[in-house]
Amino acid sequence: MSLVLDSIKINLGTVQLFKPLSLTAPPGSIVTIMGPSGCGKSTLLASICGMLDPGFSFSGAITLNGRPLNGVEMEHRKVGILFQDDLLFPHLDVFGNMAFGLPARMSRRQKRERVNNSLAAAGLEGFGPRDIATLSGGQKARVSLLRALLAEPEAILLDEPFSKLDENLRGSIKQFVFDQIGFMNIPALMVTHERSDSADGTYIELK
């Protein structure tokens, strides 16, 4: 049930971005990867979810729940991602955004039920028909995470997810994210340059 990285090396031309990285992210916990800007944190995440720019060369092995991810197309990896911007789709309402990640086999009624339950559990009861432009920063961040989790990924990556939130929101959103990931019991990898963002799991510095 874990996400395993084995000797990951990423090169941009001749420059090696960081020392070979190996780690195991057990389910339900969050591995925090720290490092200064430009050290390759986002590139690492890109390589794990399968969206590495062709200019980079990659070596090493990624395994998720025993399944090798190397060379697998991004659409099939079942790895979710959360950015610092919420990236909610502006032309869909909250329900539309969240239902977008649900599988095709569910009927519309089932989808509506799922979304509403999810929203209610997150304290956003009745938010389904809302236009995302009317949401506050904290509400957007929560909907964004719910959207990613509703797609039932087997792992989730967090790319500096709290850096654009106001100081007073940070704490509650952080707790919300960590609680949800613990509840879904999937491995999570978070990159950040803020020491205070780190979770209780493993903590790695990228060099």
Partner: protein
């Protein structure tokens, strides 16, 4: 500062007057003859006879058919092709190549391209020659009709190859305002494949930015005259050409049915625009249900590879047409089925030089004056906006956008005749002032739209610094802001310059035939048979438009040769 604010307030009002007045007045005076009022023919009784004549005219059904096929066909196919290319090629190296090639592609005027394209697809054209005499077996050109075919296919294709780059330019501009890369990232992480990501996530956000450009393309395709003369059907021609012929008929009673036709064309165009808007609404209603069905992969995903093929054809046809023009202009003798001219010579150019002088200078002067006036008006409007602190919005309001696009949404021929009538009444026809004015009407929208985003994103603090260092606001404007914005200003002027060069109907109608521009001369030659002369004139049109763009590149490069920060 309040004195300055008052002075600048005239700019939007002036711009609107320059713009809308000719259209409204022209429409009025074109409609009058449609209902029987034409003082020149001594007729001032209301009558529906022009419409009766029009509707019973034997050429009308064929004309409507060609107009619909070419107008709707070219617009729909251009939109589809442009969106397909964007969807399938976004992010690839070919996509960057396309981006770089758009400016040169768009600088080739429509008429010049049409002539070059006709050289390609003619029965004795380059394409057939490339397979003759082997393996086609042709030693004489085959007896086919490609140019001027009765179903307007060649006209449709001509417009397709010119409108697709324009729509691609609008797509590039629109995509730069969306976070495409990360939308794709999120979509793929949710399991969606390329096609579905574009149709369900990106295009719904992109289309509102394409709406007006597409409608402008639609209106243009339905009402174009110069292209239809060059490569469109002749018996019967498109409706716009039919109207033009009636307006030029020596028998003045044809003006009535011409005006009725112009009104019909206006109604047809408005109906098509209305249908496009209704269609957009219906599609978005249907799509909003389908978007959430959760199906990750489209059955058409397999066809994604075809994007590069279509893009290469698009680029290739444009390049080949231009090359065909260049070859014919320096060909001494080029018989079928030779692939290249047997003998080259510059005599085509030297012989034409003396004849080219007048049209080229007329075109250049008209274009220069209209783009200069346009930029003054446009910059004045933007500065007025700054003063009113309305520039907090970073995009033009929808209503203003529709007003700016108005001259591009109405068939030119539907109001130009009326303007000519009015000018004749006041003895103003054929004057330079009115010629520049009518060119200005069409140049303004393009200059405005090209400059808008860049101008508004100028960091106003540079000007404040200038003022705080002691310069009066006017001085700060001229010596800081204008200089810093030199490159985008010159570029939008170059776009306006090219638009003016390419104008055909406005020059003919408002100039009352007294102005020979490179475009009017080129189109009149197109009915001839000497390809060498046609090529020389078409290339002259192209080179003239190109000088505008070259100036916009070279002048800043010289001005800022020692300033690296100005080199973006």
């Amino acid at each position: 500062m309040s004195g300055r604010r008052n002075r600048l307030k005239i700019f939007p009002a002036l711009t609107l007057a320059v713009f809308l007045l000719p259209i409204l007045v022209g429409l009025l005076f074109t409609w009058a003859p449609a209902f029987g009022y034409l003082s020149a023919a001594g007729s001032n009784r209301f009558s529906l006879e022009p419409f009766a004549t029009l509707l019973h005219h034997p050429s009308l059904p064929g004309a409507l058919r060609s107009t619909f096929i070419s107008g709707i066909g070219a617009s729909l196919m251009s939109l589809g092709l442009a969106l397909w290319i964007a969807t399938t090629l976004y992010g690839s190296r070919l996509w960057s190549t396309i981006e770089l090639s758009l400016a040169p592609l768009l600088s080739l005027p429509h008429a010049a391209f049409a002539i070059g394209f006709s050289f390609l697809i003619a029965p004795s054209g380059w394409l057939i020659r490339s397979v003759s005499p082997f393996p086609s077996g042709f030693t004489y050109p085959p007896d086919w009709t490609t140019n001027g075919d009765p179903w307007a296919i060649s006209l449709t294709l001509t417009m397709l190859f010119k409108e697709t780059p324009f729509l691609l330019l609008m797509i590039f501009s629109g995509l730069s305002r969306l976070d495409v890369r990360r939308t794709i990232w999120v979509g793929r992480s949710l399991g969606y494949h390329r096609l579905r990501i574009w149709t369900r996530l990106i295009i719904p956000q992109l289309y509102p930015m394409l709406r007006l450009p597409l409608l402008a393309v639609l209106a243009y395709s339905l009402s174009v005259v110069d292209l239809a003369y060059i490569i469109g059907p002749s018996l019967p021609p498109t409706l716009a050409v039919l109207i033009d012929r009636w307006f030029h008929d020596p028998d003045i009673s044809s003006r009535f049915v011409g005006a009725a036709g112009a009104l019909l064309l206006l109604l047809v165009t408005l109906a098509c625009i209305g249908s496009a808007l209704v269609l957009e609404y219906l599609i978005s209603k249907i799509a909003s249900r389908k978007i959430l069905d959760g199906r990750r992969k489209s059955p058409f995903e397999l066809l994604v590879g075809s994007g590069s093929f279509y893009a290469l054809i698009l680029l290739g046809v444009n390049v080949l047409s231009l090359t065909a023009l260049m070859l014919w202009s320096v060909a001494h003798s080029w018989r079928f089925p030779h692939f290249l001219p047997a003998r080259f010579s510059f005599s085509n150019w030297s012989a034409a030089l003396s004849h080219l002088l007048e049209p080229v200078s007329v075109s250049a002067l008209a274009a220069f004056l209209s783009c200069l006036l346009a930029i003054i008006l446009v910059v004045g409007c933007f500065e007025n906006e700054q003063n009113l602190a309305r520039s907090r919005i970073d995009s033009i309001s929808q209503r203003s956008l529709w007003i700016i696009y108005l001259p591009l949404l109405i068939p030119q021929i539907s109001f130009l005749f009326g303007i000519q009538v009015l000018l004749i009444i006041f003895n103003l026809e054929g004057s330079w002032g009115t010629l520049i004015w009518i060119h200005l009407v069409f140049v303004l929208p393009y200059v405005f739209l090209t400059l808008a985003n860049t101008y508004r994103s100028y960091d106003q603090r540079y000007s404040y610094v200038g003022t705080s260092l002691g310069a009066r606001p006017v001085r700060s404007f001229f010596r800081v802001k204008l200089i810093m914005l030199t490159k985008p200003i010159l570029f939008s002027m170059a776009v306006g310059f090219g638009v003016s060069i390419a104008q055909y109907l406005p020059t003919l109608y408002v100039g009352a035939g007294r102005f020979a521009t490179i475009t009017t001369e080129t189109v009149s030659l197109a009915s001839g048979s000497d390809r060498r002369v046609m090529a020389v004139y078409a290339l002259s049109q192209f080179l003239l438009a190109l000088t505008g763009f070259l100036t916009a590149i070279v002048l800043p490069a010289i001005m800022f040769r020692n300033r690296r920060a100005m080199q973006n």
